[in-house]
Amino acid sequence: MHKIVLKKQLSHDMFWLEFEAPYVAAKAKPGQFIIFRVDEFGERVPLTMAASDKDKGTVTIIFQAVGRSTMLLSQLNEGDYIMDVTGPLGNPTETEGLKNVCVVGGGTGNALAYPVAKGLHDVGIHVDMVSGFKTEELIVLEDEFKEAVDNFYLMTDDGSKGEKGFTTDKLKELIDAGNEYDEVITVGPPIMMKFVCKVTEPYGIKTVASLTAIMIDGTGMCGGCRVTVGGETKYACVDGPEFDGQLVDWDVLIARNAYYTEEEKRDREHVCNLTGGVRHYE
């Protein structure tokens, strides 16, 4: 059982949660993820860590309450317990040899991009951050980003705050303006990551995409998270979660992630009127 020590609501459906997980905190590095199970009946859900504190033995996640499990998780408060937390899983972000990086985050992906951008900047790498959101009220971590990176570019689809346009537009503009990035790192909806890779490809800029995939165990056992990268089958959990985005078969990944959409929709509708919250058992 993992006690929640801090909870912040970042927007109407985005949450910041810090909880006790000493085993995870002792070994966690930026880019790695955890798997949580909210209660006895819950799914195992992977989430990239936003931060960890070895001394306090805590881990922080930032998540959007979109599916049943994340909605249930968002109903927990400080002092409540998450039933299961496993990690750190996956490989850490590779930073060796990097000097100048552009990080591109979209929607919830910004929450996951934040620790990556901050981690890079903390080790002396020049970081430009392009953050895209649909509209002003969905913007999260604006102040944190400004603090953590060299240049922060805020984009909204409808122009309600920052510049109007997509992250891909801004990225192209920055490259065309003469910024020489050794690498672009992108975290966000697969469809956005796919187009970020399309932008960088003609310039020959290596582009790393952090993938979220359907998984169960997170240790390579189920094979549910397999992705096709450069024609080879890879497991997002043990070979990733970060891959060379220009080699990823995005269409198969997008289809795979949509596999349980119907079931999830049904489950989501049951969150409030059926159980009213997390079901403690035993």
Partner: protein, 463 residues
């Protein structure tokens, strides 16, 4: 002695057309009368061929004699002197290749139902004696760690705690039992039996910590730093194998591990659990081992029409005979001497059919089984909205990656001698992690051997 009864006492079971729609246990178990009757078929041979067929050398004729006399608790004591998990072994061991395969009664008729009797004795003990009087074993204070709570780890932990060690079992998933809980379905091995065995170990003083992935959450070296004097690695062979054919990454193509884990560990078949599972119409399972049978029978219970595709013939099917028979009775269709060529999908990248080719048997191959050869031009299509690959598993090297000087053998498993000693001092290993995918009982045998070797090693340290 029931010398004239050539056949095994039949096992009472749920009717095929009833059980293929529920997840309750298929075999219901012998009554006391049936057990005594079956036990009386044993010839009590002097040379005990059955014992030599058992990886943990259960004293078979001795326990059967006690069953014949109605002394069931005595029988239990005899079994558990060498086998700590009889309720599990009685259900899942491939007896026909082990004890029963060597039984003298099997020459003219059917072997004595050793597995069924073992199960009866274990169930009788659980029902009439239970573990309420099991108490903590006095500890010698020496800390040992067991990684993985599958059959190898549980057997090793059981023997070590009995020898007085302070045992901690580390499990990567949220529930203990390894393949016994994520792989083998409820209808073949009820999960309360696994939970009971784990509870018994806990009562004896074994500490279980779940959600710890050794190699990720903690490294082997950390365990020694924390004061553990010896470590047993029983992490199994977890990585699923695929065929590397076209279309294998289409949506709706599962590894058997994923399909079974969704159903067994995550209980996707129960409405109150959140883990999603598709209610498929036509499922093709590729492979013919026990895992393939489990996946096929689960898919049937989820309401699908199920087809098993296997490239060799009936004689080469690796599954237990009983599982194959049960699967056939439940209405699963077998396409033997057939091999998938490619998997095809629709515009959404979802699988909708599988192309197979007919095979014929040629000369024996390296495994001694006749090599299947494709018959040119015999390709045909099976409609399928899900394909489950049950082709075996290989070693997961998460621990190897973070443990210096831990060597692998030529098959990709951990290098260990016959007593489980690895290339690292104080580190032992056994079960599928060493041999590659095998059976529950072999893994248990390896766990027990390693426990003995660890005891010797630890005694040596004290000198």
């Amino acid at each position: 002695m029931n010398n004239d009864v050539m056949k095994k006492t039949p096992m009472p079971s749920q009717e095929p057309d009833v059980r293929n729609r529920n997840f309750d246990e298929v075999a219901l178990g012998y009554t006391e009368e049936m057990a005594i009757g079956e036990a009386k078929r044993c010839l009590n041979c002097k040379h005990k061929p059955c014992v030599s067929g058992c990886p943990v050398n259960v004293r078979i004729p001795e326990f059967i004699e006690q069953v014949a006399n109605g002394e069931f608790e005595e029988a239990y004591k005899i079994i558990t002197s060498t086998n700590s998990l009889p309720a599990i072994c009685g259900r899942v061991c491939p007896q026909e290749n082990q004890c029963e395969g060597k039984c003298v009664r099997g020459i003219k008729g059917e072997a004595v139902g050793v597995g069924r009797l073992e199960r009866f004795v274990a169930d009788w003990h659980k029902k009439h004696v239970g573990n309420k009087d099991v108490t903590e074993i006095e500890s010698n204070g020496i800390k040992v760690a067991v990684i993985g709570s599958g059959p190898a780890g549980l057997a090793c932990a059981g023997d070590l705690v009995n020898k007085g060690y302070k045992v901690t079992v580390l499990e990567s998933l949220h529930k203990e039992g390894g393949v016994l809980v994520y792989g083998i379905p409820q209808f073949r091995l009820p999960k309360d039996i696994v939970a009971y065995e784990i509870e018994t170990l806990a009562k004896k003083g074994v500490e279980f910590i779940h959600n710890v992935v050794v190699g990720k959450s903690i490294y082997i070296d950390d365990l020694f730093d924390e004061g553990y004097k010896a470590v047993f690695i029983g992490t199994g062979a977890g990585l699923p194998m695929f065929m590397n054919i076209e279309g294998e990454n289409l949506v709706g193509v599962y590894s058997a591990n994923e399909y079974l884990t969704r159903i067994n560990l995550m209980k996707a078949y129960k409405d109150e659990y959140d883990t999603p599972i598709k209610r498929n119409k036509n499922v093709v399972v590729v492979g013919a081992g026990n895992v393939a049978m489990d996946a096929a029978r689960c898919a049937k219970r989820m309401g699908a029409d199920v087809h098993v595709v296997y490239r060799r013939s009936r004689a080469e099917m690796p599954a237990r005979a009983e599982e194959i028979e049960h699967a056939e009775e439940e209405g699963i269709k077998f396409h033997l001497l057939n091999n998938p060529v490619r998997i095809l999908g629709d515009e959404n990248n979802c699988v909708n059919r599988i192309e197979c080719i007919k095979m014929e048997l040629g000369e024996p191959d390296a495994s001694g089984r006749r090599r299947p050869i494709p018959i040119e031009g015999s390709e045909y299509i099976i409609e399928a909205d899900a394909v489950i690959m049950a082709l075996g598993t290989r070693l997961n090297n998460l621990i190897k990656r973070t443990t210096p000087n831990l060597e692998l053998n030529e098959r990709g498993g951990l290098l260990a001698d016959e007593n489980g000693k690895t290339s690292r001092e104080g580190v032992f290993a056994g079960g599928d992690a060493v041999t590659g995918a095998a059976t529950v009982i072999r893994a248990m045998g390896a766990g027990k051997k390693a426990a003995t070797a660890m005891d010797e090693y630890l005694r040596g340290l004290g000198d």
